[in-house]
Every structure is written in structure tokens, then in C-alpha cells.
Symmetry: D2
Subunit: 346 residues, 4 copies
């Protein structure tokens, strides 16, 4: 099959060709629960840039060359002998994590902490024509949703949904929620917030294009990150700050400001990464704030997100690229020129 293969790290992200177009062997069914999916679309994620930079080298073990792509959707191409819940031809979206489902975390539904492979991160992913996954990782799509249109939900959408779902239980009408970073994840985050809570939503970003996407996604207020963003948020929230801040940036001054715009007894959710949390324990106790890490999402999270998408309550802004244009997609993302999410189509 055709694939866009990562052959070398590039710490400065300076190369023209991050990945190389190659012909590689097709994945094969080797276990009774295996499924091979014909890719309809593979999302391009900022994490892919971090992988190319080598940022994940110490955390996961994967040998180059390998195939990136952890946001995958398509059609079932082949199934192992024990697969019952889908059949060849079914359209599916792939939960990014493969677990046997036997650990206690898995039995509690916490697929993120259940162990197992992460195709596209620690094994071959979906920048290709075919992807090997397993029965526990596929969600059958409703007829309303085409694989290429939903692929980025598999990780970007799932991660945004998971964090927002955790945040929504801490919101009541009258509260404010700030969403920092209205990109591929953030614009889904805004929509999910709107669907799951009655809080007023403040979208915050440096770019006017992103704020426009925030408005289209349902934000009640927008704040330009021009250095005065903390004051703007405090002004909107009666000087108190927001009950919930969801930070899809997580680097630069986003963290310090995000924490400061969180009101007392409120919650600051970290989704983006690259930066650092620094706060005194005295500030933590006087304010009684919570700082919450967020990692991908569960299988039921993905099913729930597909239900929202099916009903039109969440829409994905995508820009399509051909698989053999993968490098254009990665460079456009790197330059901040993708509104919403880039998707590779074989």
C-alpha cells in the first residue's frame, strides 16, 4: 500500500519533506480480534509535529521508519475470526488506543489508562491506505457521517470532548467558561461546551481567524490574546474570573494567565502542552483552585461525540489534503494556516 513514512526526526522542523511517500506491505490480520480498516481520512495533529521534532522520543518507544496518523476513519476491510460487532464494508471511526480490555482501568471504562498500543504514536498509523486496529477500537458510524469528514474526531475531537465533559459537571448557568486556543481541538471544545452546559463561553485566541471560528462554534464572547487578555476576561466576569478555563495551548504565558483567570474554587483544565505550571501552594489553598490534566478520551466518549455529530450539534471545520500532499498539510499546520483541522485522504 501507499504510505507517508517518517524516516528521520527533525528537531528544528526545518526540512521540506517531513515524511516520504513510500510503498509498504499491507497490514495483515494476525489475531482473531484484529480489524484492518481502509482509510477514508486521517487527521493531521500538532502532536505529529511534536513527534517529528522528537519531543515524544523519551516517552514512547517506536523505531523509525514508521507511519504517523492517530486520527483515523474509514471502512472495515478485513476482520479476524472472533469479530462480531462490525462486518466488512461498515464505515467506522477508530478509537486511538488498543487495549485487551482486561485491566481494571479498562473494566472501569478508562481506556486511556488501560495499557495497549497507540497506532500512529507507538506503531504504524493512518497516513496510509490501510490501518490495522482491533474490534475494541472501532465505533460504527451512522449513515449521516462520512469517514473523511469525521477522522479528526478520533483524537482531536475525542480529547476536546473528554476535557469538556469533565469540565461541564462543574458548570451551572450563570458561570463562565474560557476556551484558550480555538484551533482544531478548541473549536470542537466550544461546541461541546455549548451542547453540554448552560455556561457562557469566552473564546480566547491570538488570531482573529480563530476568534471568528470561535464565534461560528457558538462562543458568547471572544477575547483577543493581545497581552490584555487577563484583564478582558476579568472584566467580562465581574472581576472574579471564570469557573472553568480549558487551555488547548498549554505553553507560553497561556498557563500562568489561564490559572489567573480561573476564579476561586474554579477549575483549570490542561489539554495543550509544551509549557509549565508554576504556582505557590499558598495561592492554591487561598484560591481553592483545581488544576486538571486531560488525556485523550474513553471509547464511550467517542460514541457520545459521534452522537453529537450525527445530530449536527458538533461540526468539524476541516481542510482536505491528498495523502501524497502530507508534507503540505504538516507545513500549513506548522505555519498556523489551517482553519480547523487538516485531513489526509488516500
Amino acid at each position: 500500500m501507499k504510505a507517508a513514512v517518517l524516516t528521520d526526526y527533525d528537531p528544528s522542523l526545518s526540512r521540506q519533506q517531513f515524511v516520504l511517500q513510500q510503498e509498504v506491505p499491507d497490514p495483515e490480520i494476525t489475531s482473531p480480534s484484529d480489524i484492518v480498516v481502509r482509510i477514508g481520512g486521517a487527521g493531521v495533529c500538532r502532536t505529529d509535529l511534536h513527534i517529528i521534532e522528537g519531543l515524544w522520543r523519551e516517552r514512547v518507544s517506536v523505531e523509525l521508519p514508521y507511519i504517523m496518523g492517530h486520527e483515523n476513519a474509514g471502512w472495515v476491510e478485513a476482520v479476524g475470526g472472533s469479530v462480531e460487532s462490525v462486518k466488512v464494508g461498515d464505515p467506522v471511526i477508530c478509537h486511538p488506543l488498543l487495549s485487551r480490555g482486561q485491566t481494571l482501568a479498562a473494566r472501569r471504562g478508562n481506556d486511556m489508562h488501560a495499557g495497549g498500543a497507540f497506532p500512529g504514536i507507538d506503531s504504524d498509523g493512518g497516513y496510509a491506505e490501510l490501518l490495522k486496529t482491533s474490534e475494541r477500537a472501532v465505533v460504527k458510524l451512522p449513515q449521516s457521517l462520512a469517514p473523511k469528514d469525521v477522522a479528526p474526531y478520533a483524537d482531536a475531537g475525542l480529547t476536546a470532548y473528554h476535557a469538556v465533559k469533565k469540565a461541564a459537571v462543574n458548570l451551572v448557568p450563570g458561570d463562565y467558561a474560557v476556551v484558550i486556543g480555538i484551533g482544531g481541538l478548541g473549536h470542537i471544545g466550544v461546541q461541546v461546551l455549548k451542547a453540554l452546559s448552560g455556561a457562557a463561553i469566552i473564546a480566547l485566541d491570538r488570531s482573529e481567524m480563530a476568534l471568528q471560528l470561535g464565534r461560528e462554534s457558538g462562543a458568547d464572547h471572544t477575547v483577543r490574546a493581545d497581552g490584555t487578555e487577563l484583564d478582558q476576561v476579568l472584566a467580562l466576569t465581574g472581576g472574579l474570573g471564570a469557573q472553568v478555563v480549558i487551555d488547548f495551548v498549554g505553553e507560553g504565558d497561556s498557563v500562568a494567565k489561564g490559572l489567573k483567570m480561573t476564579r476561586n474554587a474554579g477549575f483549570y483544565y490542561i489539554v495543550g502542552y509544551g509549557g509549565k505550571v508554576e504556582i505557590s501552594t499558598m495561592d492554591m489553598i487561598v484560591s481553592e483552585k483545581s488544576i486538571v490534566g486531560n488525556l485523550v478520551g474513553t471509547y464511550p466518549d467517542l460514541v457520545e461525540l459521534m452522537a453529537l455529530a450525527d445530530r449536527g450539534l458538533v461540526k468539524l471545520a476541516t481542510r482536505e489534503y491528498r495523502l501524497n500532499d502530507a508534507n503540505s498539510a504538516l507545513h500549513d499546520l506548522h505555519r498556523g494556516q489551517v482553519k480547523g483541522r487538516a485531513v489526509l485522504i488516500p
Copy 2:
């Protein structure tokens, strides 16, 4: 002041004049925390008909003649010496319960279980020009909301909000919620459900006018209660029933059918009353259902509901009557001819 006074019970609801227009003494400030409110609007509730029937005689002690009206909003007319949070002239909506705020239930925020008077039920209410209440019971209105337009939120809206808020924590996208009875409470219930959850909403009523109101309120599906409603709900929900059923009727076959259309491990919320729950303990354990009673709502519930109304996420369908037309309003309600909620205006 002028008031519409209940002088006699009428168990068959057959009289032309349920209440009499009379001149009565103005209420006076007697405690430092007292507030007198000039009524802008007083909602007319099915409970008022039940009071006239004598249905509440055994549960609350009140001597006739007295003034009904437990859904009140208006402007602060006079305040006691210790009142700090509002001043004369402020527009307010009145939480229906008066408590000192010292009991443990009050300290936990459960104003419904905190003891205290219930004006309009066990003491003089708002079918009048003035109402005596207290500082702990008034919520200041935002400029966007006029007293006469929001009065029914004080009980009908608050009760619907409270029940739906309890239900919403048990709903995720992909779930169904059935709202039985799309009247004064139910049409608010549908809107609150839409604001607080990502579940698909099924509005159920006998009347096409009510179903139309359900659609306008945001229901995704409507079901006519024509004898086949159970089958219709099962068909919509893949044969499983709904995760949440909120019953604003609570009498006739609504209860038995409402329980049956609740899916296994689901929740049936009772708001309307007059009927009876009958179910075997074996059915309860095999299905693992929950049956939940619901009573008015807390003070923060009312604040939250006003936040939704202020942002236009909840709208109230009202029909205005003059205070001296109170009997027309009560009769129209009795005949099922009020779309939304009747409000008396002095």
C-alpha cells in the same frame, strides 16, 4: 390593597367564582429582614386549582379566607432594617420559600427542606398588589427581564429547572429524555434540558397544541399520547426506552407508562402529582431503575434559571390576565386552554 381572595373550598371546581376581589390591609414590615414587594406579575398554577379543591388541606395549615399566588415577581416596595442586598425599586423575583437559613438543610443549600413559610400556600400570596417576603427569598432581576414576564419562573420554572438539573447529570449524548406533559412546567423543562444536556428530547402530550409548544421549545421528537405512546417511545429509542423520563403529569396512566418507557438503569422523575406509583420490587431490581421525587427548587436554582432566561436560552410562554380576571385565568387553566402559563397583573 386589592386582592383576589379564596374564601371557600370547592371540591368539584364547579363554581364560577373561585376567588373574590376584595380590598384588604397592606402587608407591613415587622422583622428587620422583611421585604414588601409590589407585584408585577403572579403566576397561576395547577396547584392553585388543587388548593381550591381542598387537596392540600391535610398537608398545610392555612385558615380561609387567604390569598393564593406562589409565583411572584415585582419591585421592592419597602425593606426592613437589616436588609442589605436589595433596595427600594429593585426588580425582583421571589423564591417561594421563606426560611431563616439556620437549619442544616438550609446551610447545605436545600431551601426546599429548610423549613419556613410558603406564601400563597400556607400564608398570603401574590394574587394581590403587594406581597410580604424576606431578604433570603428575593433574587434581583437583570435589566433584560420584566417582572410580569418572569413571575411563573418562581415556582413552575423553578420546579422544572430543579428536576431537569437533577436529571441532566444522568444524561450523555446518545441518550434520550422524555418530557411528559408540555404545559406551563413542561415547556420550560424542555428548554432547560436542551440547555443543560446533549440528550435527544422527546416531548409527549395528549394535545397537539402542547406538542407544538414542545417543538418550539426545542424537542427533537414529539409523541402524541393517544394510547400508543409507550410503543412510540420504544420505537424511537431502539426498543430500550429512555435514560430519563420527567413526568410533569404524574396522574392517570402517565405513571405506569412513564416507568415502562424508562430504560434499564434509567431514571423516572416525578413532578406532577395526583396519581400513584405501583411497581413490583422484582421489576425494580431486574431493571435497576430509579424513581425520583422532585420538590420546587433551591435559591441558587432560581438564580441559575434567571441566568438562562437573561441569555435567552429559556423563554416563557405566558398569557396575561388582569388581577380582577383571576377567575377567568383559573377556569381557562382548568379547561386546558392556556398555552404556557397564565399570569395575573394588578
Copy 3:
């Protein structure tokens, strides 16, 4: 293998021989996830008497003759090809339900609602030397726990744990919890309540022997069900009733009284069955009570219960019978002569 087989129903429970000792074929591995367990102990449950009476005939389809026994523990005797989490010889306790783990309920951890067989109820169970189960249904035992001593945890303990865990989140110190029926389930319920909450526990039963077991299990108060039990509970709880009532009887006047001894805004949990819930919707709304059905428990529930047992926080009162004395065990249970739980040992 040897087994105690149910060959005919006995609606009046009047026969000497409820089950017959027979030689039957050994169960065999037919799927890669199958496990055969050599029974160390099989609990005898009131449900077994209800099965003999035919009470479950309409709810589950099973052809006689078959083998009862849904509370099983023992040692792994044989495993299918894909089993990884246990090996031959490991001591295990069996979760009573077998599911593939693919349904959404399973993915959310709700094994009770995940579909799948229920050995001992709808297929052959553990009144035998060997039992066929599957990898997803076995919990490896710590060294401190012998199969014959823990078998009744598989259903009686699990059901009590599941209900109490649900109840415990509604209890704070200063609250009261009533446990109705201090038998095989109830005495575990009392211990789990004590481990998971700071509420004061009231044990209620007709029998002084049971109340003694309640005291040994950690109840703070005991109430004899002699007709005055409602008054006794009200007297203990300042006239208000208990925040939580867990009813392991669920028949006779237990239900009506259990509901009445639940305080306003409190919770009544149904575990035992045979009776009927009857309450007006008006009583439900005025009291704002919740009535909650409870069904077995999840796989993580069983793991958690084993953790409590391992630490000595929950102890099981058992009485051992040989497998070929199964009829004695069933008759003793029927006559109310088992303190704690009967266990059959091959």
C-alpha cells in the same frame, strides 16, 4: 463430574429433594476466552429457592434439567488459547455475568447491563465439580482468601456491595442508614456501609439471631421488627427517618415501612424482592424521596469487595455443606436456619 441437578420446578417448595445428585459430562473449552474452574465453593442463595418455585421462569429461558449455583469460586482448571490474565492453578472468584465486553454498557463498566449469560441462572452453574466461565468473569484471589470462604461474595456479597456503594455517596457523618434484613446479604451490607461511610447504622430484622449478626457486623443500633419498627427508627433518628434505607427483604410490609422510615430527600434502595412499591406521586414530590433498584454489581465492584475482604474489613459468615447435601442447605435456608450464607463444597 458430579453435580446437583434441578430436574423439576416445585412451586410450593414442598419436596424433600429439590435437586438430584447426578453424574454429568465435564464442561469443555470451546472458545479461546473460555475458562473452566474447579469449584472450591458454591454459595446457596434465596434466588435458588425462587428458581425452584418457578418464579424466574418467565424472565429467563433455561431448559430443565440444569445446574443451579451462581456464586462460585475455585481454581483455574483449563484455559482457552487467548487467555492471558490467569493461568491453571490460580485461585479465582467468578463474577456471575459473562459478557463479550463490546456493548456500550460493558465499555462503561456496567457489566450488569452488558448482556451475556448468567451461569446458574440461565445456564449451568456451580452446584458441581467444574464450571465453565470466561476470562472477563474471573477475579484472581489474593493469598489471604480461600475459594470456599469467599464464594458467596460472587453474588450475595457483590449485590450488597453494589447497593451500599451507591448508597454511600448519599451519606455524610451525622446521617443514619437502616439495613433491613440481616441475612446473607445484609450482614455484608452492614460491614461495607461501615467501611465506606461515616453514617450511623441501624440493623433491622425480625430475628434476634440476625440482630446479633448485625451487631457483630458493626451496626450501631439494632431494631427488632416486631410491628413497632417504624416508630423505633423514627425515635432513633429524631423523628425524621433515615437518609438511607437499604431493603434486603423487599416483600411483605418491609417496602411500605422502609419507605416511611426514609427521611425527606432521602433514598430507599431495593435489593430483596417479592413485594410491591405503592406510593402516591404526591407523597413522592412532597418528600422528594428516591426509590432505587439494585442489580448484582460490576466487575470492579467485585475486585473492590475482594480488597475489603483481603484487609479483613468485610468478613463472611458461612456454613459449609457437602455438595451431596445440597438439599439440606436449601431446606435450612428455606426454614431461616442459616446464619450468614450456606456454601456447597464438592
Copy 4:
């Protein structure tokens, strides 16, 4: 009355006399909700040392000289005209915060965020014979509890209870909880954890005396903070870390190590202060940990803690000093020579 008065800050805590014994005017009833309490005992808190150091100068405005002491219990000496819930002579413990109860935070029960004075911190406290407080701040004591024996519950106990109650909802049997710092707060924390959860408790401290107190308080394991504490906790928890870590120290390497000994998807609670949280956002997302600030506790929290104390489930280790020995108590605390909590008795 007699009082121990703070007249000057002492940043290096080097003076012999931190406070001076003086005769000051008695407090007087000035508002109808005021209460004057005759002090039975006043707890001495590490925060008092921080006040003397000047650490709180920037956060609260209080003019020296003033009277410290925010952990107070005694008997009602005088009441204002509107007080109904207690009468002269009643034994009471004082919630440390005085609020009018009108803000939304107060109505939701969050007394810590409700505004209002904090006697002993920003106004005169209980290092004296009499204290002025208000009706909303007193909890009547059961007969089993003497004021001098419970005074430290008013803040040390309340703070420990509040943090542990928040933590307990995240614990199930099989989980581990680490308590860092087994002093005045920590030894109550261990007991509350034992009362409210089925988790195994690991007590961690530098001092063998403190670990002994941890054992007496019910810890299942103790870990000496000798530099190897992280490894010891990992060894006890199967290499995974603990689901919950409650840090009563919050300074030095306690924070970094506390976060590291928290397992993935686990919770780190900050109660002690003086140090700093530093962690990369990448570590936060990969681990999906939560960092939670904790501040005093609510009025219902204090009622619940008194219920535990009344039943003997929580016991306070105290050491009594006369009010005119306040400096000895403060110096002993500063030198780490108080096992449990110091209490001043007039």
C-alpha cells in the same frame, strides 16, 4: 478581659514573647445576630506562627495590636435579639468564618467563599476569655464533647475534614491514600479517611513520633521521610503510586515528591503551604493528574466532623496550656514538640 495580644511582627520568629498578656475591653453585642462566647479552649495553629512572621500581611488587612486564635470553642455568654438557635450557657464550637449568608456562594453552602470576617485572622480571635462571633458561625456541641477538647476542630480539624471529604469521593477499596505530615491536621486527616473510605492509608512524616501518631490514628502503613519516601510509596503501591495524596506540609520537597507519588489519573490535594507547584503541562496531560487546593471547610463540614467526634470515630490529640502560657505553646509548636494540637485554656 484577659487576652494574649500580638503587638509586633517577628519575621525571624526569634523573640521570647510572641504575644503579650494584657487586659482588654470585653467584646459587646452590637448586631441582633451577634453572639459572645466564653472561651473554653483556643487551638494554636501553625498559621499563627505564619501571622507572627508577617506572612499573611499582604493577604489580609488587620491592624496590630490584635488577638490571634481562630480555633475556638466555649459556652454562649450573650446573644443578640434575633438569635434563636442557641441560648446562653450552650456549649458551642465556632466555625471560623462569619458571613451574612446572602451571597450565592453562601447559599450554595460554600462558607469559605462567602465573604465575611475571619476572627483571629483579620479581627480579634480567641486567645482571650471572650470572643465575639455570630449565630451563623456556632455549632452546638453534643454532651459528649467538652469545648477545650474540641477547639482545634474549628480550623485544623475542619480543614483536614474538608480536604479528606473531597478526596474520599475519588477512593474505592483497593486504592491507596498517602497522608503527608502527621501533625495537628494530618492525624485528624488519617482518622477521617478511615471513617469515610475503604482505601488503605499510608502515613508519611519525617518524625518517628508523628508516624506513631499516624499508626494510632489508623494508618495501614507508615513511611519515614528520610529521602527514600518516594521509592517506599511506589513499592507499597505496586509501582503505580497512590490514587490520592493529601499534603499537609506543602513546602520543601513535599510538593514535587507528593505529585510524583500520585498515580496516573489520581489526585494530589494541597493543604499545607509555603512551597511551590512546578510541573510541565506535558506531565500533566500524560498522567491526567489533578492538583487540588483546599481551604478551611463549610459549616456542614464542621457539623459532620462533630458527629464523627461524638461517635468516637475521630479523636484529637491535644496538649493543654494556660492562656498566660501562650508563648510556650507557640514556641513548642515552632520547635515541633507538640504531638497533636496545642490548646490554650483561660
